[in-house]
């Protein structure tokens, strides 16, 4: 066993850390997060040029990484910078699906940051379950056409294309389709997200689409893509928590009440100590998940659910605790903490919350 990151991954992490420190001020991130796109395309391109997307893909498809630990390394660092650019939503997840369905030209463009492809699985009801889409795909003479409504499609606005799930009449099971953003019958209704960023409701009306892979057989593919997306989210949350913990400790060292630093009050010391314990446990969960990303689906999903449950539970607790320990200042927009806390809590609402994954783990 060896728990040290490889030299390459350490360098990758350092490089991302330096980029964030020098070129990714939080102020600009917040402005980008509340803009119409919800992120900054220039920053996205820069990250692609630095190889951050390449690190998420295997060599055969134009990347130089692609393992669980590569994904975890990149997203932990992105989390530390509260990076809003949708490397998870418009590159990692969709790029994986496209790579598995032989769309290598598009994958290459994704890796270079030239194209962004969003993913629409969720439909109404706010459910996390993506296994039974009601969106319907019909084959006409010349092409497939889609009808349905997808909600909470993250960062679809400004993407070049979309991948959506649908059922077909000719085969049971789920199928995946690629749709050009400019396709006829596609209407996009963007909205802000509370953690800064953007998502869309997408309506499809006789929208022409291209089938990806085999009709009706997309379940395992989506499941594997979901595992990647979920791992990335967990790693991002870990980065956020590391920063939140550091901010809290710094604050407790400097803020004085009753003539001494907050950090001198034992009631508070124990709470930060508890925070540290929880984050260490979360970190182990992420390591387990990264390690099992290549494992057979059942085993992989158990590790992924264990991680997402842990991150969901611990993330919310850490966010709430850090705000509480800061007092009033933690409630303000001006102070960084609140923005990290918002993202951390919202991670519990993507790709299944803690209860969803607890059940999935229990039932597996």
């Amino acid at each position: 066993m060896d728990f040290q990151p490889t030299e390459e991954r350490r360098m990758l992490a350092d490089m991302i850390g330096k980029f964030i420190q020098n070129d990714y001020p939080l102020k600009e991130r917040l402005t980008a997060g509340s803009s119409a796109l919800g992120y900054c395309p220039t920053a996205y391109s820069t990250m692609a040029q630095l190889g951050l997307i390449g690190a998420l893909f295997e060599e055969e498809v134009g990347g130089f990484g692609g393992s669980g630990f590569d994904i975890a390394t990149v997203f932990t660092e992105l989390g530390k910078g509260l990076v809003v650019e949708p490397l998870n939503d418009t590159a990692l997840t969709t790029g994986y699906i496209l790579a598995q369905t032989d769309q290598l030209d598009l994958v290459e463009q994704i890796v270079l940051g030239e194209k962004r492809v969003a993913l629409g699985l969720i439909e109404n009801g706010a459910d996390y379950d993506w296994s039974a889409p009601e969106t319907l795909a019909r084959k006409t003479d010349a092409e497939w056409q889609l009808n349905g409504v997808k909600t909470s499609v993250k960062f679809a606005h400004g993407a070049d294309a979309l991948i959506v799930s649908a059922q077909t009449q000719s085969a049971p099971g789920i199928s995946l389709f690629l749709i050009e953003a400019a396709a006829t019958g596609l209407a996009e209704h963007p909205f802000q997200t509370v953690d800064g960023g953007n998502a869309c409701e997408i309506t499809l009306h006789n929208t022409p689409a291209q089938l990806l892979g085999v009709e009706g057989a997309a379940y395992p593919l989506i499941d594997a893509a979901a595992a990647r997306a979920t791992l990335a989210l967990c790693a991002e949350a870990l980065g956020l928590m590391e920063r939140i913990k550091d901010m809290t400790i710094d604050y407790m060292r400097t803020r004085k009440q009753f003539g001494s630093e907050l950090g001198k009050f034992q009631a508070l010391q124990h709470r930060v100590a508890q925070m540290l314990l929880e984050i260490e446990q979360a970190k182990s969960a992420v390591i387990n998940a990264a390690n099992d990303l290549q494992a057979p689906a059942d085993e992989r999903n158990r590790a992924i659910s264990a991680a997402k449950y842990s991150i969901g539970r611990i993330g919310c607790a850490v966010a709430e605790e850090a705000i509480q320990l800061h007092g009033g200042i933690g409630m303000t927009w001006e102070y960084d903490l609140g923005h990290f806390a918002k993202r951390l809590v919202m991670i519990d609402h993507e790709w299944g919350d803690q209860d969803f994954h607890l059940m999935r783990f229990a039932e597996s």
Binding site: D127, Y128, F191, V194, E201, F258, D348, E350, L358
Partner: protein
């Protein structure tokens, strides 16, 4: 022991319900139910409606124009107001300053300020906290120096809730620096239109604007605005805080949130089934409902003790802790119930003419922001940690 409501209580409840159904405009209750900020106009309007009925001062003693309701009746009133979605009564004047003036103010002060709170002439805000003095309030540094028949105030207050709407602020100021901190504090009333005052907004993490900083530079305040005696302000301040904590059990509001969650759990889906059928969610909801039932009785027990004893005591710290955490837990579970849609931040769906996407159910469009906003309730009014310190000292005697 008899936990049943009397017939008179039941009749009273009916009276409140009827009053609310006639007087409370639907657009206001809709905003309140959706946890959106209530405008200045709507608050003033609602105060006027309650005032006309004589209920604005429902928790004042009869001798000052209160209605003389029992603790049970007061709770019924608060509960029904919350259920109906009535704007909360602004506490700063009516529930905080008023008891202090009644107990420690001069007859002139009582006759001048109390009626103005009721008829809407004054909107009060609370000037206790300072950047360096939050939990350790007694360390406050804003000074008031007596010059003839005026005090001259210099310093800064912060976290001033809804100060942007206020014309008056009550402040704790330092009038003596040569003694132990608590013994050099005075309580003074300041007109915000006085030269030398500047109010600046502080934006909260949810993007809202409800708190402010207030800067005082050579602000001249008539000495007649001092409440009680100079350097006795700490006693009055603590008296006020005990009253502030009183309503904070928020049983009515949590009850309303419980009902809302139950409705929501029937329409939301989890794994293709109604959320209400999800065992983990059902357990979470049950836990909160049990906590609330327990709190209802704890609240009444404590209030009953106050009404038979010497008024609010350290037990109000218990209500503050349990009540604030329960309210936060309801907001937390509401956010969870929204599942994937919790991330949407679309308060603009409440604007007239909105035609964008409707992501979360409409009355839930501001819920995640509200969840983050409500992190404040365990911080303000004396943080929950400070309440525990009070309990440790005053009740446990440790």
């Amino acid at each position: 022991m008899d936990l049943n409501f009397t017939e008179a209580d039941q009749a009273f409840r009916q009276e409140v319900i009827e009053f609310l159904s006639v007087e409370l405009p639907a657009d206001i209750s809709r905003r309140v139910h959706a946890d959106l900020p209530v405008s200045k106009e709507d608050t003033e309007f609602w105060h006027a409606v309650l005032h006309k009925r004589g209920w604005l001062t429902y928790n004042w003693p009869k001798s000052f124009g209160g209605v003389g309701w029992s603790p049970v009746q007061q709770s019924i009133f608060e509960e029904e107001c919350a259920t109906a979605g009535a704007p909360r009564i602004l506490p700063f004047g009516l529930k905080m300053l008023a008891p202090v003036l009644m107990a420690f103010g001069s007859k002139e002060q009582q006759e001048h300020w109390l009626p103005r709170m009721c008829d809407g002439t004054d909107w009060w805000c609370q000037g206790y906290s300072e950047p360096g003095s939050g939990s350790d309030l007694a360390s406050l540094k804003t000074t008031a120096v007596k010059q003839g028949d005026h005090y001259v105030i210099n310093g800064q207050k912060t976290w001033t809730t809804l100060g942007q709407y206020a014309n008056m602020i009550f402040c704790l100021v330092r009038t003596n620096s040569d003694t132990k901190p608590q013994a050099g504090i005075s309580f003074i009333l300041v007109d915000l239109a006085t030269p030398g005052i500047e109010m600046r907004p502080i934006r909260t993490l949810d993007g809202g604007q409800e708190v402010n900083e207030v800067f005082f530079t050579d602000v001249r305040v008539p000495a007649s605005n001092l409440v009680g005696e100079e350097n006795k302000g700490w006693t009055y301040a603590k008296y006020l805080l005990a009253h502030e904590r009183n309503g904070i059990a928020n049983v009515g509001i949590s009850g309303q949130k419980l009902a809302r969650l139950k409705r929501l759990s029937l329409t939301q889906k989890r794994n293709g089934k109604p959320l209400a059928d999800d065992p983990l969610f059902a357990a979470r909801l049950a836990r909160l409902e049990i906590e609330l039932r327990n709190l209802e009785t704890t609240n009444l027990r404590v209030l009953d003790g106050f009404s038979k004893g010497a008024g609010p005591g350290p037990e109000s710290s218990m209500l503050k802790i349990i009540g604030s955490e329960l309210e936060q837990n309801f907001d937390d579970l509401t956010r969870r119930a929204l599942g994937r849609h919790a991330q949407a931040h679309t308060p603009q769906v409440f604007e007239p003419g909105y035609n964008g996407p409707q992501v979360a159910p409409q009355d839930m469009a501001n819920q995640s922001a509200a969840y983050f906003n409500k992190r404040k309730v365990s911080i303000y009014g004396g943080s929950n940690e400070i309440q525990k310190n009070i309990i440790t000292k005053m009740i446990l005697g440790l």
